[in-house]
Symmetry: C2
Subunit: 112 residues, 2 copies
Amino acid sequence: MNRLTIKKIIETYIPMTETAFYILLSLSEPRHGYGIIKHVEEITEGRLILGSGTIYGTLKKLQRDHIVTVYADELRKTIYEISDLGKQLMNHEIERLKELHTNALKYEEEFK
Amino acid sequence: MNRLTIKKIIETYIPMTETAFYILLSLSEPRHGYGIIKHVEEITEGRLILGSGTIYGTLKKLQRDHIVTVYADELRKTIYEISDLGKQLMNHEIERLKELHTNALKYEEEFK
DNA sequence: CTCGACTATATCACGACGTGACATATAAAT
DNA sequence: ATTTATATGTCACGTCGTGATATAGTCGAG
């Protein structure tokens, strides 16, 4: 299991799924799985409620690719944090979202 | 093949894939498949180059669900336009993108 | 006139992904 | 005592984007 280059990571993770984006955004502070679910529900005002399969599956994959790491292993709670690689990835993804947003505003009127 | 309700359409299409989003955004004016590919390449400044499988596959699905309709059938060119249903869908998707953008800006600094 | 590049559409197999159901267990509240 | 909330995990399922492959007309360069 070799560490992937940042280039390869970007290729496979961008465009990021909404799920992965909000999980990583939520990890702007260390959190455990269930905490992420609640936090994402909060910042999306109840719109996005992550299923357990989604959260633990995604977290496992992100951990495999060194995008998140284990911050602390408490009793019946694994607390994760985002790695430097993960931060780089998020910066790229945020740039892409800004592009989408700009284009959305540019053409918005045509759909009204 | 019954017409789906707007509610059902939103459920299955949102969150929208980047691909579907840019195809529909591009259809703010009637265009044919190849024209969409070139237009998307242009507005994303070369970042997103849609493959033929992606464009014709997605267009077929969008047509099936009455999100796009055929505007004109020219010789060796099928020109598509977005339907009213498609416009409603896009309005919802644009709102979601605004939410993502807002949250991205809110937490952006934590990843730098 | 011929050859390559561009225009244009279509299909199919492949791998990746999100989801929800199901399972398990503890703790707190009613 | 029972329900609700906390907390993690697995697995089958359907969907999706992608790239390879195929086909064919147009147009300019040499």
